[in-house]
């Protein structure tokens, strides 16, 4: 297999608040390959968005990357550790929006209401390529056409509030593509959208990926979207990576009790009417009150008393590409 375009190694991003330290990301590692989609899935507070923001070096204060490596393989074959770059350095800024494009959840607040979408696109294009204004405008129209916006020659002069939610999200994708990225990070790109619009945007991301051999990191809480889109999956819970592996293994041979419980508890359109769901007991703990040992142990139906509540489980490799962090697995292999 080719070299990964992005390798995250044992990333720790912590937030230092008055009330205590929140270990928002606590040891995440994964590889991203060109033309592939990596899904990061988890519930609120699991650290999936902070992982994305760490890669882009846009973690808000009081958060910062404590340790780890984010190795980006550049177009020329050299490798840059994003962690070592100062967050607002010229190089980091060139990578953000250049080599790595970003699509946010909420298109309305990510687009300016005071500039036409064309002007925002032109600005983004000219930040990363030396084009004249006219050339950049032509490129902007091209981008709008590429993301499937009808009548791009007219829409280029529209303001974001004149567009529907689906079109706005398409503009967000066009903006993310303006710097000709090789990696696209999409943070809950369809959460705010209706289901038929969601299908449109997912289809768009898929076709763009095919055309341009994009590497995509898709962050979502929706297991359905993951099943639909991802090649590889990282499941996170309270900052910890609990399981990762190829999408088929995650859905059909999950090893971590959390993955299994999560899959059982999601409502499915294939279920029988009025069928009750399997539940996970309790609720997600507050980030300040993260349980000792395995973060999932208070809600886990397979807890080993005296083990899970005291020791942090190590990540155990299962087969070639799957891994999970659970004491039950280390017991089996030992």
């Amino acid at each position: 297999m080719a070299d990964p375009i992005l390798s995250v190694r044992d990333l720790h991003t912590h937030f230092f608040a008055d009330e205590g330290v929140v270990r928002a990301v606590d040891g995440t590692s994964f590889d991203l390959f060109a033309g592939q989609t990596l899904g990061i899935v988890g519930e609120s507070g699991c650290g999936k968005s902070v992982t994305a923001r760490s890669i882009l070096r846009i973690v808000d204060r009081p958060g910062r990357i404590v340790s780890g490596e984010i190795l980006l393989r550049r177009a020329d074959g050299s490798v840059t550790d994003m962690v070592k770059l100062p967050a607002d350095s010229r190089e980091a800024r060139a990578i953000r929006g250049g080599e790595i494009g970003l699509v946010f959840q909420e298109p309305m607040s990510s687009l300016s209401a005071f500039h036409t979408i064309g002007n925002q696109l032109i600005e983004a294009i000219r930040l990363h390529a030396s084009l004249s204004k006219k050339q950049a405008r032509a490129r902007a129209i091209e981008l709008l056409a590429m993301v499937g916006i009808p009548r791009p020659e007219q829409r280029v002069d529209a303001y974001s509030f004149e567009l529907s939610g689906g079109l706005r999200q398409r503009v967000m994708v066009a903006l993310a593509l303006a710097g000709e990225p090789r990696i696209l990070i999409a943070d809950e790109p369809t959460t705010a959208l209706d289901v038929t619009t969601q299908a449109q945007i997912l289809e768009l991301i898929r076709s763009l990926q095919r055309e341009r051999d994009l590497a995509v990191i898709l962050i979502t809480h929706d297991m359905g979207v993951i099943a639909e889109m991802a090649d590889d999956v990282v499941v996170m819970y309270l900052g910890k990576e609990v399981e990762k592996g190829p999408v088929d293994a995650i859905f059909h041979a999950p090893n971590h009790p959390y993955t299994r419980a999560l899959l059982r508890s999601i409502p499915s359109i294939l279920a029988e009417p009025r069928e009750k769901l399997a539940t996970i007991a309790g609720s997600i703990p507050h980030p300040f009150a993260r349980p000792n040992g395995c973060p999932f142990h208070p809600r886990c139906s397979e807890t080993l008393p005296g083990v899970c509540d005291t020791q942090v489980p190590a990540t155990v490799q299962i087969g070639e590409r799957q891994a999970a962090a659970c004491h039950l697995l280390s017991g089996k292999t030992a």
Binding site: D194, T196, T197, L202, M223, I269, T279
Partner: protein, 333 residues
């Protein structure tokens, strides 16, 4: 047996005002000729995308807003045009569960005050009696009664939603309107609330109007489903029928768009073109025709009526008998 709720030709038109003097230049037909019934112990889901009028419909039924026309027969009484004071005795019979578990509880009141408020304002002034009932309600929604004196900020989203449910049940209502009650919750918590609603309904014989956009959740909770598009019901059928044999092209597309949590079932989706129509200026004829892949010239001019194609299965489509639609097939194993 009379249904708990019988909605007949409900309409809600919002005037569009323009200019300094606020002249009415048109109407948004947010709800346009909507009819359905809900029986005791039954859940009817209203589904559709944003702007389809499902929330406006539910607000009209609760009389949070006054409908423009139509009848809302609640336990046989038409409440569509009742005045505020005449509504009050009927209101305690219909309660609401809200979407946002954070804004639906007053942060300045304790849990016992919040759940006790409906009891207090309806005459249960004895504190001990009221606290006993609050404890009973907390047990009903599976929360420890020891939490009575806590404030909402001490609870997680799922627990708050349980508190909201307890408040809604305080006055023994016969109808519950649940407006996206699980969409703001995490997946692992969502399942708990879905199950709780099913259990409570079976135990208390509630009629539930479940307003939602998530078809997977809808499949788990409802007996019957009504699909809305731009202010109109386009299809109404028992849950199993609707998911197995949809008869309206919009229902077909909606079902097809739902991502299935199984990577082995990556089907080719029906991806609809364009956006949901603007309810202030809807397309002529069938509102869905510009996005419909089965549309003919007839669909552009003729407004389809809601026709019963099988017992309990109504469809608003001119070509429903001519086209064969795909469905969500059952799992393959």
């Amino acid at each position: 047996m009379t249904p708990v709720l019988d909605v007949r030709s409900l309409r809600k038109h919002f005037p569009i005002r323009t200019g300094m003097l606020g002249r009415v230049s048109g109407h948004v037909k947010a709800v346009d000729d909507v009819s359905f019934t809900i029986d005791r112990g039954e859940t009817l889901s209203l589904v559709g995308e944003s702007g389809c009028g499902k929330t406006t419909t539910s607000r009209c039924i609760l009389r949070a807003i006054a409908p423009t026309a139509g009848e809302i027969l609640f336990q046989g009484n038409d409440i569509a045009q009742l005045q505020r004071k005449d509504l009050r005795p009927l209101r305690r019979q219909m309660q609401m569960i809200f979407q946002d578990p954070f804004s639906s509880l007053n942060p300045r009141m304790t849990i016992s005050e919040i759940i006790g408020e409906p009891l207090l304002v309806n005459g249960m002034t004895n504190n001990a009696e009221r606290n006993a009932r609050v404890a009973e309600l907390l047990t009903l929604v599976q929360l420890p009664t020891a939490y009575m004196n806590r404030f909402p900020h001490a609870f997680s989203g799922g627990q708050r939603q349980r508190i909201g449910i307890a408040r809604a049940l305080a006055l023994h209502p016969s109808l519950i309107v649940a407006d996206e009650p699980v969409s703001a919750l995490d997946v692992s918590v969502q399942a708990q609330i879905v199950n709780l609603l099913i259990e409570l309904q079976d135990r208390l014989g509630l009629a539930i109007l479940f307003v939602a956009h998530d078809l997977s959740v809808v499949k788990h909770v409802s007996h019957r489903v009504a699909v809305m598009y731009v202010g109109r019901i386009v299809e109404l059928a028992p849950t199993r029928t609707l998911f197995a044999t949809p008869r309206h092209p919009y229902t077909e597309a909606l079902l097809s768009a739902v991502p299935v949590p199984d990577p082995r079932r990556r089907a080719s989706r029906i991806v609809l073109e364009g956006d949901v129509a603007d309810p202030s200026n809807p397309p002529t004829g069938c509102h869905f025709h510009p996005r419909c892949r089965y549309a003919t010239d007839r669909c552009k001019v003729e407004t389809p009526p809601l026709v019963e194609v099988a017992p309990g299965h109504a469809v608003r489509c001119l070509r429903t008998d001519e086209i064969a639609l795909g469905s969500v097939t059952p799992p393959q194993n």
